[in-house]
Each structure stands twice: as C-alpha cells, then as structure tokens.
C-alpha cells in the first residue's frame, strides 16, 4: 500500500497578537482525503491558524507547506491549491451570486470554458441555481454561507479550509454540508474544519486536533470512544488544560 499524500504540513507555526502568542509552535500534518476537526474554546487560536493556512495572514515564524512546497515564500500556490471559507462568509453585497463565483474563479486562475464549467458544476452541486441572479447583500445567513462554500470549492482545491462552516445553518443545511464535506474528502481533498460543535467533529471528521491558548494539546484519530470520550478530553483541556492523547486513547 502506498503512503498517503501529504497535502498540508505545518512546522512550528507561531503567530503573536497584541503581544501574546495567538498560535504557538504548532505542527500538524494533513493527508489527502483526510478531514481534520480543529476544536478549541473562543480565543484558542483556531481562526488565526486557519487564516495562516489560507494565506490571509503571515506567520511570525514556522513553515507551511502545501503539497511539499513552502507557500509563505510562494503565496501564488495558495491561489489554485486552497479554498477558504472564513467564519462569516465575506461577500461583496453589490454583486450577484453568479458574479461572485466568476470573480472568485478568475482570482483563482480559472478562465473561459474552465470557469463556466466550474461555475455550472458548483451551482448544481450546492443548489444555487435559484439564487444565481440574487445580490449577495440580500441573501440569508445560510445562503451566504452556502455561497461562501461554493466560492471555496469552485476551483477544486487540494486543501479546503472551513472556519465554523455550520454557523447559522439549520439542521437540514448542516446535514447537506456534511455530505459535501464527505464527498469532497472522497475525491481526495484534504479538509480542515474548525468548529465549536463536538457533534460536528464526530460526524464529519476522521481526526481531531484540540487547540488551547494557541498550543496544540491533542491530535488523534476519532476513536471508538466517539463523542463521549472526545467531550471528556475537550472539557479536560478547556477547563484545566490537562487533556492528553493518553486519556482519550484509554477512553
């Protein structure tokens, strides 16, 4: 059996905010087709980590490699290789859904027939057809999130970075989102997903990493203990900062 392809490799990633480390010495590896759930309380450093991985924020030190290439030195790699949905899908209110997809496609290097094809595929897949001519400024929160996801997936990135993607979605939309994540992972996309919801992690992810005060405190596959064991570990880390891989594995 061949070794899995490493899509994302973080080495000793550090980033300070307001004089204190928002992310400290973070090292992680993510393989193709793997879905990693990033857990942590508010201020644990999840969004900062994801913004660095997405290329929107430059780390103070450390290295980020995408498909074996350092993309801090070559930010253009992020252009085609990464899809990012930030916590609140940032949209231009004066543009329509269709115009957003075109704009994102062009910014990510798609053009002509490839862009048209990619737009048609994603519109169909995320059922955005009825919204295509609607202005982003009048979309509901759930629709905005769906459009944000479509923009992130449009160019078929090798790495998909999702920051709290289930925010403001109703249970049906959450279920649809899980399906999209699973389908995307099955196609070989590496996915990193930040959330507050433990159930979201156990339902959609293969692996979980827990950040606390900017440091990686836990990183393991979702085990047989499932939701209960994960919950216990999470609370141990969040409340007392003493969770460990051993405790989870024992559970």
């Amino acid at each position: 059996m061949s070794a899995p392809t490493v899509v994302l490799q973080l080495d000793n990633l550090t980033r300070h905010r307001a004089g204190r480390p928002a992310v400290a010495d973070l090292s992680l590896r993510l393989d193709a087709g793997q879905v990693l759930g990033l857990l942590g309380v508010n201020g644990a450093g999840k969004s900062t980590t994801l913004a660095m991985i997405a290329g929107a924020l430059i780390p103070d030190s450390g290295r980020i490699q995408l498909n074996g290439q350092d993309f801090i030195e070559h930010p253009e790699l992020a252009r085609r290789g990464i899809g990012w949905l930030p916590e609140r899908a940032p949209l231009w209110p004066e543009l329509t859904v269709s115009e957003h997809l075109d704009a994102h496609g062009r910014l990510r290097g798609l053009a002509g027939k490839a862009l048209t094809q990619a737009r048609q595929n994603i519109v169909e897949r995320l059922e955005l057809g009825a919204l295509a001519r609607r202005l982003a400024g009048v979309l509901s929160q759930g629709q905005r999130q769906r459009l944000g996801l479509a923009c992130a997936l449009l160019h078929q990135p090798a790495l998909l970075v999702l920051d709290e993607p289930a925010n403001a979605l109703d249970p049906v939309q959450v279920s649809a989102l899980r399906s999209v994540i699973r389908e995307q992972a099955a196609q070989g996309t590496a996915i990193i997903l930040s959330t507050h919801l433990l159930a979201e992690v156990t339902a959609a992810c293969d692996r979980v990493a827990i950040l606390h005060e900017g440091r990686l405190r836990y990183d393991a596959p979702i085990g047989d203990g499932g939701h209960k064991a994960l919950e216990q570990t999470f609370f141990d880390i969040a409340m007392r900062g003493d969770g460990s891989n051993d405790r989870m594995q024992a559970a």
């Binding site: 290329g55 940032p90 004066e94 290097g109």
Partner: protein, 261 residues
Amino acid sequence: MSVLAVTRLELRRLFVRPLAWVLAALTLAQLAWRFVLLLGGFLAGQIKLAALPGGPGYTDLVGVPMLSSILTGGILPFGVAELALVIVPLLTMSTLAGERSNGTLPLWFAAGLPASRIVLGKYLALMLWLVLWLALALAMPLSLAHGVTLDWGKLAAAALGLLLTLAALAAIGVASSAYASHASIAATVALTLGLVLAGVNIAAQKAGATSDAFNWLSLSGHLETLLRGLVSTADIAWFLLVIVVALALATQRLAAERERG
C-alpha cells in the same frame, strides 16, 4: 493576469454601485451647463473676436475652459478639474477602506495576490472609469469640431493635463483608502490632500510666501502649463512622481496589514 482579474472585479463593482452613476450623471449635467454657457459667450463675442488678429478661438474659449477654470477665472459652474477634486475622493474612498469594513480584504490576500497587484488592479479600474468620464466631457466641445477651427495640439495637451490630474488624484484617493479604517475618513483625507495640493501656491502667495517650492508643490501650477498647450517633461514627471509615491504607500500599507493581521 491577476491584475486584470482584480481590475475586472473592481470595475464591475464600480459600475453596479449607484454612486458611480449618480456622480457621472450630476457632473456631466453640470459640465453640459458649463459648455452651453461657454458656447453662448463664444458666439456672442464672435464678431469682435474675428476682428482681432491672433485672438482666442473656440479652443481657448470653449474647449480648454471645459476642462478647467484655472485659465478663465470664475469658478462656477465647475470645469472637469474642479469637479475631479470632489468626485475622485468619492469614487476611491471604498477601494480598500470599504473592503476592510466589509471584511473582504482577507479574500484578496488568500487569493495569493501580492499587495502591489491588488492596488494596481483597483487603480486601473478607477482609471478606466475616469477616462470614460473625461472622454464624455471632452465629447461636448469635440461635437462641434466639424464646424469650428480647433487647435488640436492645445486641446490634446490640456486633455493630457486633465488625464494626469485624474491619475494623481486617483492615486492619492487609493492611498487614503489604504490607510483609513472607514470609507468616509478616506474620502475626507483624499479631498483635503487634493485641495491642499491644488491651492498650496495660492495660499502661500496670500500668506506672503513667495518660495518656488510652493509653486513646484502645487498641482494647479503644473496643470496650468499643460492647459496653455505647453507639454513639459518637468510637469509630467511631477504627476508621475505623485502617482508612484501614492501607489507605493498604498501597497506598503496593504502588505503591512497582511503581515500584521
């Protein structure tokens, strides 16, 4: 390619926002009013002017004054240059400050675009809009070109002066937008800088200061030479210097923002 993608997106956003259309409609209506007044004056004085050997013609009395009131005196109704001092800050205010308050700025960074390409792409989109606006303003005096004798060289020099003025004001607007947290602050700063640059020589004269430095700093001094039909490298270099410095500052600010987060 990525600069063009930014330009295309920015141009689209500019054209779907009502502000750009309202500004275009109001300013062109005002310029049409100026054109009618200038043309009326030219027609009324035509017999006297014909008697003057080498007297001012259609270009001096209608064509160039459409572009600016610097040479003719009397401000109202405004020429293109005077209107530009107001409308360029309004057009440029959201360029980067609007993205910042909208939360969309990180999207540009995440697309792997260097700050310079983002700034350049957005600047080019603004310039395309402004060139179109200038062309529509110029179309008014040019519409009578077949019936009058136009001094094409003088009009071309004046148009070049206006183009450079628009380019300098747009660059200052983009830089203000890069530094300001809100679009309204960006507009205020750009307007103030534009007015200071335009009037620094006059203000200095009134204050009794006669240094050449004030004349060199003044935008209107450099524009005036071009409006008179004189194209000098020194004036063009001044405009280019302002454009390059302003765009470099905007780029530097944006790059720092990406690092600072």
